[in-house]
C-alpha cells in the first residue's frame, strides 16, 4: 500500500512539470507587457531594459521555463511582478481560505447528496424520487455565481444572517460553501442514484434477500458499499470543478483565497503569481485524486488486490 502511494506521488511530478510547461508557454504568448505595467509608461528605456534582464525575460522561453522548474524544486515560486513579494509566501497566506471553502463545500455536498441519491433510488419512480432528481438537476444547471449572488442577496443582505464578505470566521464560509457545494452535491446525488439502481438489480442483492435480510438492511449492508464505488469516482472529478468554481465563489463573496488571487493576477499581468495559483490548484486536485484511489481500495477488495 505504502509502495503504491509513493509510486503515485512520484508519478505526479512529471504531470506537474507538464502543467508548468504548458501554462508557461501559454502565458508567454500573452499580449500585455508586464515590465511596462510594473514601471509605468514614463520609464526610461535603460530602466526598462535593466528590468527585463533582471527578470530574465530576454532569454528564450524554454530557458526561462527551465530556470523556473529548477527554482521550483527548491521551493522557490519566483517573485511577483506586481507586489515584488515572494510568490510562495503570498500563496501560503491564501491557501487556508481556499482549503476551508473547499472543505465546507465538499462536506455540504456529500452530506446532502448521499441520502438524496439513495432515497431517490430506493423510492424509484415515486414523487420522492421526482423531487430529489429535480433538486439535483437544478443544482447541475444553476450557475455557481448566480446562486452565490442569490444567497448573498437573501441571507446576507436582506436577512443579515451571515456576513456578506470576507473570511474571518466560519460563518463567512457557510453561504459560499452552500453556493459552491450545491453544484457538486447535485452531480454526486445523480450518480449515487444511478449506481444504486444498478446495484439493486444485481444477483447478490437477491441472494441477500433470500437469506432473510430485510429490504432496508440489504440496502445498508450490501447495496450501499457497492454503489459507493462509482460515487467516489464522480466525487473526485467534482472536486476538480469545485476547485475551479472556488474562483467564482471567492469573487462573489470576497474571500481572499487562491482563486481570487489568480483573477487579480491575471488582470495585473502578474504571471509568476498566475502560474503559482494554477500549480497550487493542480496539486490540490492531484492529491484529491490520490485520496480517491485510496478510498477505492478501502471499499473494493478487488482494487486493493491490485495495489499490493
Amino acid at each position: 500500500m505504502w509502495k503504491y502511494i509513493l509510486k503515485r506521488i512520484v508519478a505526479m511530478i512529471p504531470v506537474l512539470i507538464g502543467v508548468t510547461l504548458i501554462v508557461y508557454f501559454i502565458l508567454s504568448l500573452a499580449p500585455g507587457d508586464p515590465v511596462r505595467a510594473m514601471l509605468g509608461e514614463q520609464s526610461t528605456p535603460e530602466a526598462y531594459e535593466e528590468m527585463r534582464e533582471a527578470l530574465g525575460l530576454n532569454d528564450p522561453v524554454i530557458v526561462q521555463w527551465g530556470r523556473y522548474i529548477l527554482n521550483l524544486f527548491r521551493g522557490d515560486f519566483g517573485i511577483s511582478y506586481k507586489t515584488k513579494t515572494n510568490v510562495a509566501v503570498e500563496l501560503a497566506a491564501r491557501i487556508p481560505s481556499t482549503l476551508t471553502l473547499s472543505f465546507f463545500a465538499t462536506t455540504i455536498a456529500i452530506i446532502f447528496a448521499l441520502p438524496l441519491g439513495i432515497i431517490a433510488a430506493v423510492k424509484q419512480n415515486t414523487w420522492i424520487d421526482g423531487i430529489s432528481m429535480f433538486i439535483s438537476l437544478l443544482g447541475v444547471s444553476i450557475p455557481i455565481f448566480w446562486f452565490g449572488l442569490l444567497l448573498l442577496q437573501f441571507f446576507c443582505l436582506k436577512l443579515g444572517w451571515f456576513p456578506a464578505s470576507g473570511a474571518d470566521t466560519w460563518l463567512h464560509y457557510v453561504m459560499p460553501g452552500m453556493a459552491l457545494g450545491f453544484h457538486c452535491m447535485a452531480s454526486i446525488a445523480r450518480i449515487t442514484r444511478s449506481s444504486m439502481l444498478e446495484v439493486i438489480r444485481q444477483d447478490y442483492i437477491r441472494t441477500a434477500r433470500s437469506k432473510g435480510l430485510s429490504y432496508n438492511k440489504v440496502i445498508r449492508k450490501h447495496a450501499l458499499k457497492n454503489a459507493l464505488i462509482p460515487t467516489i469516482t464522480v466525487t473526485g472529478l467534482q472536486i476538480g470543478s469545485l476547485l475551479a468554481g472556488s474562483v467564482l465563489t471567492e469573487t462573489v463573496f470576497g474571500i481572499p483565497g487562491i482563486g481570487r488571487l489568480m483573477i487579480q493576477s491575471i488582470q495585473g499581468l502578474d504571471y509568476p503569481m498566475v502560474l503559482g495559483c494554477i500549480l497550487v490548484f493542480t496539486l490540490m486536485f492531484s492529491i484529491v485524486n490520490l485520496i480517491v484511489d485510496l478510498l477505492y481500495a478501502f471499499v473494493d477488495p478487488r482494487i486493493k488486490a491490485q495495489y499490493s
Binding site: Q202, D203, Y204, R206, T207, A208, R209, S210, K211, G212, L213, S214, K221, H222, K225, N226, V299, D300, P301, R302, A305
Partner: protein, 338 residues
Amino acid sequence: MNENMNNTNEFALDMSDLVVEYRTEDGIVQAVNGLDLQIEHGSTLGLVGETGAGKTTAGLSILKLVPSPPGVIVRGSILLDGEDVLKKTEKEMEKIRGKRVSMIFQDPMTSLNPVMTVEDQIAEVIEIHNEGGGKPLEKAREMLEMVGIPGERGREYPHQFSGGMKQRVVIAMALACNPMLLIADEPTTALDVTIQAQVLEMMRKLKEVQNTSMLMITHDLGVVAETCDKVSVIYAGRVVEHGTLEDVFENTLHPYTEGLFNSLPNLDDRKAKLKPIKGLMPDPSNLPAGCVFCPRCNYACEICAEEKPKRLYRNATHYVECHLYNEKNILEGGVIGK
C-alpha cells in the same frame, strides 16, 4: 437427526394453482399459469422446461421474492409444511427465507457480494436466524469445510474463488441453517461440465445428511436423471406432465416431453439425427386459447386449438394434460412412440 424429521405434513411444498403475472407498459406477461408442484419431505422434484417457461418465477414465488413491480402473484396457494406463505407478512417471510427455505441461484459469478468476505456472507444468514450457538463465524467455517473448502479461505473475497468454488460457497450459505426446502435454480448451468458433476454429487449428499427437500429447477434432463425422485415438466407456466422418474422417462405421455427427449443426442445411435421441437415458446403476453403447446405439436388436432386439456392420471403418480388421451387409452400407456 434433526428437526426436519418431525414434520406434521406430508408435503414440504404443496403449491397449487399458482398464477404470477408481470404487468408492464407493453402488456401483461403470464409467467406462471396455474402451476401445481408437490414435494414430499426429503425428496427431490425436478422442474424441467425451456428458458422462459416460468421456472425461476415459480422458485422466487415460494420465497415471495418475485420482483414487484412488475410481478404480481394473482392467485393460488403455496403451502410450506402446511402453512401458506402467500398469507404471511413480510416480517414473517424474513424468518422463513434462509431458514425454512433457501435458494441457490443460477450464476455463482454474480450471486455473491464482491465487497464482503465469504465467511461474513455465510455467517450473516446464520446470525439472522440465530443458528450456530452464538458463534456464527465458526459455524460459517464449518459449513465451508462441509462443501470442501478449507475454512481459513473464508477470509477471502469472492473474486479470489473459481466459479465452481463460488457455487460451493453459495450452497454452504443456502444449507447453513438446515432448511426444510432447498430451491436450486439451474445450480450447475454456469459451471464447467467436469465441475457440474462434482457439485451435483455434493448437493445430493448434503441434502441426504440434512434430510432437506429439494426443488431442482433445470433444463437439463441429465441433471434430473441424476438427482431427482420425481419430475414435473413445465411449459408456458404450467405443468404438462408429472410423474416419478420411471413414469416420465419410460412412459412418456406428453408430446412436449417427447420433444425434450428427442432433442438429446443419442449415444447408442450416433447416426440418428437430433429432432428439435419445431417453433418457439408462445409469447407469454398472448397465450393460445387452447392447449398452449398446440402450435408446436406434431399430434395437434382441431380440439387442441380450442379447448384446454384436462388432467388425466395414468397411475397414482403420473399425470398429463393432453387431448391425445382419454380415460381408457391412458391406462395403456398412451400413443406416443407407437
